[in-house]
């Protein structure tokens, strides 16, 4: 319990502290320190959960499903803060923003971590909503940090689209509470997930289906499901690179986590009716649509960060499809995919940050010859893209393979679409990547001071997870699979 409270509230304390720190250099180090403390607390919490099972109390709930997401969030937060310290110094020096902007950045970074950790660990669906909305609000000003017209437009789109989406999710939550109030023994626990999960079969199916539609559209906007994805490429590409890394790597996961938690309730409620898999079908539909559309859009991109954000949409679509498919195999694959995608995508964005620093631009047409200018950046970008495209022996290959196996078993025709989409995305990514990494080096391009340790760490983890998933992690994911689908994989 102490570890949990420390983990959730350390970022809040950090935010308050960073509001007072004036110098940029010191703020960077304080940021790193707070994130490290958070990560340590998360590890402690994970150890507690492994020992005791589910930890509940004070409207928090940490079970096998969200504990590894909590550790992942804290870890990526920590590595990103390590990357962001020198990177934001460079950004500040190059005049894109000023000292006040930097203070805002650091405060909002920690507030963002706080809201995400709160969303992941809360048991109350209302607080989940408040935290997800809070995460949106915390990052909105950061997307427009550079104050260019494009950045302001991206931030406005992000704010409005996500705000509307979240409002619809609130209506879904109200409907859920309405359904719960009539069957739950203690009305004060009407929004508590644990209680609702126990009595899920008693919840009225018609109201739950309506609520789920609203919740899926609402939280799905934040996941980046097509056609509610319009804000994602803009917001992820116009904000500062560390922000893109955490948005892509973490916030999308949190939104998907919310969707899956709610799907568990709806499945329980619909289990006795004539269409028990409605939620699954909806998820599969949106997921497949996002996956295919994003893969196609990848080809048209001219901005490197936009291209990778479409890749994020594509992978989130894949994960949504997998969760919709249901069954232990697909769910295990989806959980693993959440893990490796976050690690790989944040590593890629960090590398992209360095690449744009080298080339001085985000436009794909003008980034060339990275591997010759700074081999570390070039090679790691190449390896990162190979990882995200699903090359063995990286972890993404493992999870995609599991998903394909599950699809062949239950919905064979979708395999064609999946494979096609994977090929299209792969082609798009490499088509754009090749000239960037191997092209002729432009005049005057020089290597920059770049700390590639976070990237190596992430990619190394992804490689390890692909080659041989450690036993404890596999058992951990298996327990999460059992929680979600009711059946073991291993």
């Amino acid at each position: 319990m102490n570890m949990l409270l420390l983990m959730v509230f350390a970022p809040l304390a950090g935010a308050l502290l960073l509001a007072l720190v004036r110098s940029l250099g010191r703020a960077g180090w304080v940021n790193v320190l707070v994130c490290t403390i958070t990560f340590g607390a998360a590890l402690g919490l994970a150890r507690d959960v492994i020992r005791e099972g589910v930890i509940m109390g004070m409207t928090f709930r940490v079970d096998p499903f969200n504990v590894y997401l909590l550790v992942l969030t804290a870890f990526i937060g920590m590595t990103t803060s390590i990357f962001s310290r020198p990177y934001m110094q460079y950004v500040c020096d190059s005049g894109k923003t000023n000292a006040r902007g930097m203070r805002l950045y650091h405060v909002m970074f920690q507030l963002f971590m706080f809201t995400m950790l709160l969303a992941l660990s809360t048991d109350n669906l209302g607080i989940l909503w408040v935290a997800v909305e809070g995460a949106t609000l915390a990052t909105v000003l950061l997307v427009s940090l550079y104050r260019t017209p494009e950045a302001i437009e991206a931030a406005w789109k992000y704010f409005i689209l996500c705000g509307v989406g979240i409002a619809l999710a609130l209506f879904g939550t109200v409907l859920l509470y309405f359904a719960a109030q009539r069957v739950v023994p203690d009305p004060a626990t009407g929004l508590t997930w644990s209680v609702l999960y126990e009595i899920a079969p008693l919840l009225q199916p018609s109201i739950m289906s309506l609520a789920f539609v609203f919740l899926l559209i609402g939280y799905g906007t934040k996941v980046g499901l097509v056609p509610m994805h319009q804000w994602l490429p803009d917001a992820h590409s116009e904000g500062p690179t560390p922000m893109s890394a955490v948005l892509s790597g973490l916030l999308l996961n949190v939104a998907l986590y919310a969707v899956v938690r709610l799907k568990m309730l709806v499945d329980g409620s619909l289990s006795g009716t004539t269409s028990p898999h409605m939620a699954g079908y909806l998820l599969m539909g949106f997921g497949m649509l996002s996956f295919l559309v994003a893969g196609l859009f990848l080809h048209r991109q001219r901005d490197i960060k936009r291209m990778f954000s479409y890749s994020s949409i594509e992978h989130m679509g894949l994960m949504t499809f997998a969760f919709g498919l249901g069954g232990p195999l697909a769910t295990f694959g989806a959980l693993l995919h959440m893990l490796v995608h976050s690690l790989t995508k944040s590593a890629i964005f960090v590398t992209v940050g360095h690449a744009t620093h080298i080339a001085g631009t985000q436009s794909i047409d003008h980034i060339r010859g990275l591997i010759r200018t700074q081999p570390a950046v070039g090679w790691l970008l190449l390896i990162g893209v190979a990882a995200i495209a699903g090359f063995p022996p990286f972890g993404v290959f493992t999870s995609e393979f599991l998903l394909l196996t599950a699809t062949i078993q239950s919905q064979p025709w979708f395999t064609v679409a999946l494979l096609g989409g994977l090929v299209v995305a792969f082609a798009g990514l490499f088509r754009h990547l090749h000239p960037m990494v191997y092209g002729p080096v432009p005049e005057g391009q020089q290597a920059v001071q770049a700390n590639m340790v976070p990237v190596l760490l992430h990619l190394g983890l992804v490689l390890w997870l692909g080659l041989s998933i450690p036993g404890f992690l596999a058992r951990w994911l298996d327990r999460a699979t059992e929680l979600i689908t009711g059946a073991h994989l291993l």
Partner: protein, 228 residues
């Protein structure tokens, strides 16, 4: 006619909810910005009044607190903040007429009918007197959404967003007798922070494109990429 079975307070609640729906329509069509802000303030006040009536007739004491919170936030604080922003942005006298007002109003009426149909299964089961208001609150949410779609001025879009939140609050009160207080406080806090951020945004947008017509925020498209 089931109205005969309802007490006077409950009939009053229906009347207030119907007037709140009417203010939605006013918000949708009103060309003058300051008048829109006043209409929004009235909508917030009406939502608070409905909450008070529900609290009085149902005996939920925590709803009184919600009502006061909504009144202070939605009827007083946020309109005041918007007024101040409008004055600072020098938009007091601006008029932004709606194109195709007749079509938009017809679509809004269609949305009212749609939301009624949507909550019909919910409504048919409950015996609580507030059930009919759920359709009205969903209609207010959807009309707020319509407002954000058809209007191009940034401040008016924010009014549409806030009107959606009004509708959601009314839905929570009417369908469930109010969400738990913690959640209500969280939502209110989020709305307040959103309002503050919107205020910051108006200035940023105006600095960058020198107008608050958000249709002019159109540099980030797929086409632009090729021209660069």
């Amino acid at each position: 006619m089931s109205l005969d079975h309802l007490s006077l307070l409950e009939q009053l609640m229906l009347v207030l909810a119907a007037i709140a729906l009417f203010t939605s329509f006013i918000l949708l069509e009103q060309a003058r910005l300051v008048a829109s802000i006043h209409a929004f303030a009235w909508q917030g006040a009406l939502a608070a009044a409905v909450t008070t009536v529900v609290a009085a007739s149902g005996g939920h004491t925590h709803l009184y607190f919600s009502a006061v919170l909504t009144l202070c936030l939605k009827a007083l604080l946020i309109p005041w903040m918007l007024h101040r922003l409008v004055r600072k942005l020098e938009l007091d006298r601006q008029i932004e007429p709606l194109r195709h007002p007749a079509l938009v109003i017809m679509f809004a009426v269609a949305l009212v009918i749609f939301s009624y149909w949507l909550v019909l299964p919910m409504v048919q089961q409950e015996l609580v007197f507030t059930r009919n208001i759920v359709a009205v609150s969903l209609a207010i949410v959807l009309i707020g959404l319509l407002m954000m779609v058809v209007r191009q001025q940034a401040v008016v879009q924010v009014l549409g967003f806030m009107s959606m939140e009004n509708g959601l609050f009314l839905a929570a009160v009417s369908a469930t007798g109010g969400m738990p207080l913690v959640v209500e406080l969280g939502v209110a806090f989020d709305v307040l922070v959103a309002m503050v951020l919107f205020g910051v945004f108006f200035f940023q947008i105006r600095e960058s494109i020198d107008s608050l017509n958000v249709d002019r925020l159109n540099r980030l498209t797929e086409r632009t990429e090729e021209e660069r």
